[in-house]
């Protein structure tokens, strides 16, 4: 049976972002209506039963996260929606917020009711100004229609949703860093515990959820947890958005169940390889996860299966690379990213990413020394597990993963003093400043 998209079915239709369209074609706000007749803990139980896992990267069960939010406290509770979509290769929330904003607004309202929050902040990255315009206009309409504000739909509960614009920081996607940024500070992570569920925004109990996660919530309430779980493999239920970019014919956001294999996603959904060149490697979950080789793609693209194959689903940002891509260049490009985005709080990450980039640049430009490869490994190993947040591990991953699988390319760079891919391929490939 072909998979029927539920999150993105209408995104290419004109006016799909409007409230009228949402009410007419997507059973708009019926989920919220139903949720308000239930007890909050019943909603949490439903979300738990559905097996919904966080779509932001870690794949933590959402119901559990909500359950941990402190109940018996005089403090207000908050919901933060993480719309700081900055992971290289990921652009799914962009589509959802721009083309289906009411699904997110409804999800926020239900989540607020479930955890007992009265205010939700949608932390959107500063670069998504055009998305913010859409979102704020639609939130305004939802207020006017009575789906947000005081005494929503006559239920007696209140819910305010505000959009908070970031200003260009990848690290703000980490949940405690997001909270810091919302409080008006530098986006740097906090020491955990206490987790946000206990002491988050303004030191009040807080749930931080990804956009796609919250978009799934109205569907679960409306169609039931069994329906949701039945859409995918065990413990990996529900619809999933996959962002496919790089050397494919038709890059884009594709919705599929997590039964779909990576090969199907790349060759059926995204149209196969650009110029029909051979596939060299795939990053299956945003730049922070290890790469997979062409013979590892016949696994279902679920959190658990990809983990078994040696990588992670992460944020489902699938970056496909053909044979013209030099793996040392790839690691250097990504380390430039991590060096730039490291928040600077933990020394291993702040200094380590800088060292790694310098080493990679030296190797890539043909000036590498044989001992540099061990040095790369040594520096990476001294970052992994030694930082407050997962950024450190993520930053070391491109180096460790390319070194493990493509060590011969590194050695060839050092031995030959240049990139050993054919010169005409290098000419096709964008060259990094200062290299070659």
């Amino acid at each position: 049976m072909p998979y029927e998209p539920v999150l993105t079915r209408h995104v290419n239709e004109p006016q799909s972002y409007t409230l009228d369209f949402y009410l007419k074609h997507q059973r708009g706000y019926e989920g919220l209506r139903k949720a308000l007749t239930l007890q909050p803990h019943d909603i949490i139980e439903q979300v738990k039963a559905s097996g919904l896992r966080g779509r932001g990267g870690a794949g933590f069960p959402t119901g559990l996260k909500w359950q941990f939010v402190l109940k018996d406290t005089p403090k207000p509770k908050y919901l933060c929606c993480n719309a700081d979509e900055s992971e290289p290769g990921t652009f799914k929330d962009h589509v959802l917020m721009e083309r289906n904003p009411h699904l997110l607004i409804e999800g926020c309202a239900i989540a607020c009711y479930a955890i007992g929050a009265k205010v939700a902040y949608i932390y959107i990255r500063g670069e998504f100004y055009h998305v913010q315009q859409v979102l704020e206009a639609e939130i305004e309409k939802a207020y006017t229609a009575g789906y947000l504000g005081k005494n929503i739909l006559g239920s007696g509960s209140d819910c305010d949703v505000y959009v908070h614009r970031g200003a260009g920081a990848y690290e703000a996607g980490e949940e405690t860093a997001l909270i810091e940024s919302l409080e008006g500070k530098r986006a740097q992570p906090r020491i955990k515990p206490p987790f946000p569920a206990v002491a988050g925004l303004y030191h009040c109990p807080t749930a931080v959820n990804n956009v796609e996660t919250l978009c799934n919530v109205p569907l679960i309430v409306l169609n039931g947890p069994e329906w949701f779980a039945s859409l995918g493999p065990e413990k990996n239920g529900g619809p999933k958005l996959f962002c496919i970019s790089g050397h494919v014919k038709t890059p884009g956001v594709y919705e599929a169940s997590m039964h779909t294999t990576l090969r199907q996603l790349i060759f059926d959904h995204a149209g196969g390889m650009m110029d029909d060149r051979p596939l060299k490697a795939v990053i299956p979950g945003g730049s922070s996860v290890p790469l997979l080789l062409p013979d590892q793609l016949d696994v279902p693209s679920s959190f658990d299966s990809i983990q078994k194959a040696g990588s992670l689903l992460g944020s489902a940002g699938i970056i496909v690379m053909n044979d013209t891509v030099c793996m040392v260049w790839l690691a250097m490009n990504l380390l430039h990213f991590y060096r730039h985005e490291s928040c600077g709080k933990c020394t291993p990450c702040r200094e380590g990413t800088d060292w790694l980039f310098k080493l990679l640049r030296r190797i890539e430009s043909g000036e590498g020394r044989p001992k540099d490869l061990d040095l790369l490994f040594g520096v990476s190993s001294n970052i992994v597990g030694k930082t407050l947040c997962a950024f450190g591990d993520a930053a070391a991953t491109p180096v460790l993963s390319t070194m493990k699988v493509f060590r011969a390319e590194y050695e060839a760079h050092v031995r030959e003093g240049r990139c050993t891919l054919p010169a005409e391929w290098r000419a096709r490939q964008p060259v990094f400043a200062g290299a070659h």
Partner: protein
């Protein structure tokens, strides 16, 4: 941000963050419209958490005079009720705030993997050649500032260039000069925009 401005691991112009103190600048105060916008924004947060509005306050100040001077930061500090050092702490962290004057159009070229795989570096080189400036610089007549940024989150429409708050998608290197001419002639209306919101 860079933590070692004096270490020579990349061309000096590569660094966007400056260690020098920002210019004092002209005396600064919000226009009445911006003051009203700020006052409305502060209401979104709990009364004792005015600092949450700091990013918004800085965007307002930057929108009003193009970049953030000391005087503007002091004004923001007064509005928020924090110290000037706290404001500068925030300004120096985020990449979308400028402490030096920038051109009318700031071109943010995405350089991270997905864009780089389809030629973002070529786009930057073409822009540098066409404008006669290096990345990180502003052209002499103050029209364009060229900045390289990390992933913009539209990898399927690579290479992506953000122009102020607008978007240009799939900018191939051979169309760069045309793109600049269009921008000079028609301003931000010439941009492709985000393909998702075409019909608006």
């Amino acid at each position: 941000m860079s933590f070692h401005p004096r270490m020579d691991y990349a061309p000096a112009k590569f660094h966007q963050s400056a260690r020098a103190l920002p210019e004092e600048g002209e005396p600064f105060a919000y226009t009445p419209e911006n003051q009203a916008k700020f006052d409305a924004c502060v209401k979104r947060y709990p009364p004792d958490q005015r600092k949450s509005a700091i990013l918004y306050a800085l965007y307002l100040a930057q929108g009003q005079q193009g970049s953030l001077t000391r005087a503007a930061m002091d004004h923001v500090a007064t509005q928020i009720g924090c110290t000037a050092a706290e404001v500068e702490d925030v300004v120096s962290y985020y990449t979308m705030f400028f402490t030096k004057p920038v051109g009318k159009y700031v071109l943010y070229v995405c350089r991270t993997l997905s864009c780089a795989l389809v030629g973002a570096e070529r786009v930057t080189e073409e822009l540098e050649a066409a404008l006669g400036i290096q990345r990180g610089e502003t052209d002499p007549d103050g029209t364009f500032t060229l900045v390289e940024v990390e992933c913009l989150g539209a990898c399927d429409r690579a290479p992506v260039v953000m122009v102020n708050d607008g978007w240009q998608e799939r900018l191939s290197p051979d169309r760069v000069r045309q793109f600049l001419d269009d921008l000079r002639a028609r301003g931000e209306a010439s941009l492709s925009g985000c393909h998702l919101c075409k019909e608006r």
